[in-house]
Symmetry: C2
Subunit: 346 residues, 2 copies
């Protein structure tokens, strides 16, 4: 029998993480009798006087959210990282290492209305969101080594507020994920004299089988090494190292890309497709002075749903203790996303 | 202000994974208005004629589960890994690497009754479970490089059947987690001429602040670098490399340890505490012939609950894109577990 990527088990390599994923397409048809989630389709009013992210509402901290009209940014009332604080001493023991961590956590509201999202905001409004991301990135990047912009969408992803918003956690340290990526991107660049992700995007554009959307500036693919069932990566066609390296054309086309990808996601299971998403670019702070030619700015979507609006992929025992595993091949997932309309179902 | 490990933010190093975790104890008191889970307290009948893991019941595959009286092992009807199958060809491209994966997936029922678990099985019955783990490990370890024994407990952890059981996924490859551990354990051994985890357990026994239980042979600690709120590690006091290196005394005392730790977990929020757990020891298959003195056999529990039987820690945006983060310090979590009675609430 000939090997068929959509039918036969194999492992695939993630060159960004130096990790493998088990692909078991033959398992996609197993029946599911486990936990089902609440379908994420909740209707939200435009304004909710109890929602602290709405204009004019008082937050738990006692502060009042102002009457904002575009995006609105504030410091998280319960930040995981604080700007100052006492620092631990070095234990001198390799098994008990602790270090100081400084940082700040902010919330970005995308829009004053609670009932809007990428797929029903105007292109101009999405461009405003991208500009706010860039502003924040530049401001926080002056001080901090890493500025992680991310969004948890939906209660299934631990999001506790339906108002359209994302978060930024900026830190004095380079977190694990970007640290490992930095190492692997750097080694690839040394060896091949080209940014890995630019090589990657060019090859994916030729192969086509994992591309779900493209426009003049951006390509969305289900990465060859995807772990989450409908995971995607947003990659630029022209090399850019950081969020603030994007020019006007790239920004506008990125806004369009975001509108399309979110609409496609929502169309798969006719729901508000839950996910965590975020952006990675070259490190900041003290790293702004270093050569970062190996870095390519990119976005990632990690959505948990697998079979329906209520059945997710559980990353549990084997995944936590041994290795990530997926049932659906990346190519099949890409075909499903590609085939969705670019406008969200009404 | 002096640094206080239970109050002030810091990062801690995991020498097994070469990774850091953000600890934000100041954040433990933030209010939670996000998703709550169903409390895992379900009552299960001793026998359910519809449950395929009960003796005498027909499974989806058409096979009938026999009238077993102790443990019962069978090959998963929907295995993620198959023993045979066509193999992918080498693409020759570093960005599109695929390899063959072979393996097998088995299910171990702990007992014929559905309404029992470690805390209400007799010590002898738990000893039987440990012996079955060892038998399986030895048998599959002859052929496969890695034998991952693991249990997903509770619907919240993707477990779809309440009958007491665990799984084994054995593979022709060394998965990511043990591969990275192997590397770090080996480097430590080279440098310090001692198994890392034996050094670690001795130091934890002196420090005491993270020890939640100990008997003559075993120690349970919340590891210094714990990621999950109530994560624990089960470590031997005497160096053993693999499951099958345990002697009778260690086996009996391990059974007792398992009974205590599960009872303590269940007592925290008065529920069937969900978790994924599993065992790591030196690799098998072709690695049986290699020197593995750097390896120490150990167990891990990864429970998701944070604040109550219904509020879990979400490992989402920041955790997936940047770095694991916890609110509760490992030392506070250890105190909570340590203070629980060793018998489960009735
Ligand atoms: O094989 P099960 O119990 O049906 O499946 C469960 O455990 C597996 C191993 O951790 C995971 O891959 C699945 O996502 C999870 O639902
Ligand atoms: O800050 P939030 O949205 O309340 O919290 C959510 O996102 C954080 C960052 O990924 C996680 O640490 C929390 O577990 C999750 O519930």
């Amino acid at each position: 029998m000939a090997f068929n990527i959509n039918e036969h088990q194999h492992v695939r390599y993630n060159p960004l993480k130096d990790e493998w994923v088990v692909v078991s397409p033959h398992r996609a048809l197993r029946p599911w009798s486990g936990q089902v989630e609440t379908a994420p389709t909740e209707e939200v009013p435009q304004f909710d006087p109890k929602n602290p992210l709405c204009p004019g509402v008082k937050r738990t901290s006692g502060k009042v959210t102002p009457m904002y009209e575009s995006t609105y940014v504030f410091t998280n009332d319960f930040p995981a990282l604080l700007e100052e604080g006492p620092e631990p001493e070095d234990s001198g023991d390799p098994l008990f290492q602790m270090k100081a961590a400084k940082g700040t956590c902010r919330v970005i509201c995308y829009h004053p209305h609670s009932n809007v999202y990428f797929s029903n905001l105007s292109l101009k409004e999405v461009v405003c969101v991208v500009h706010e991301w860039i502003n924040q990135y530049v401001e926080l990047g002056k001080k901090y080594s890493w500025v992680q912009i991310f969004e948890n969408r939906g209660a299934m992803m631990g999001c506790s507020n339906p108002h359209p918003h994302c978060q930024i956690w900026a830190s004095s340290f380079l977190p694990n994920e970007p640290r490992i990526k930095d190492k692997n991107l750097r080694e690839y660049f040394k060896k091949h004299k080209r940014p890995m992700l630019i090589d990657y995007v060019e090859k994916e554009l030729l192969k086509k089988e994992r591309v779900v959307y493209e426009n003049e500036e951006w390509v969305v693919v289900v990465p060859f090494w995807a772990v989450w069932p409908f995971e995607t990566m947003v990659l630029p066609k022209r090399q850019v190292k950081r969020f603030n390296d994007l020019d006007c054309k790239q920004i506008e086309k990125l806004a369009q890309t975001l509108q399309v990808i979110v609409a496609k996601y929502d169309n798969i299971f006719k729901c508000n497709f839950p996910y965590s998403m975020g952006w990675h670019g070259a490190p900041t702070g003290e790293h702004l002075k270093e050569n970062q030619d190996h870095w390519t700015f990119h976005g990632m979507y990690y959505p948990p749903l697998l079979r329906s609006a209520t059945v997710k992929k559980f990353m549990v025992g084997y995944e936590l203790l041994a290795q990530s595993q997926r049932d659906l091949s990346a190519e099949k997932a890409a075909a499903v996303i590609r085939d969705q309309p670019e406008k969200r179902f009404a």
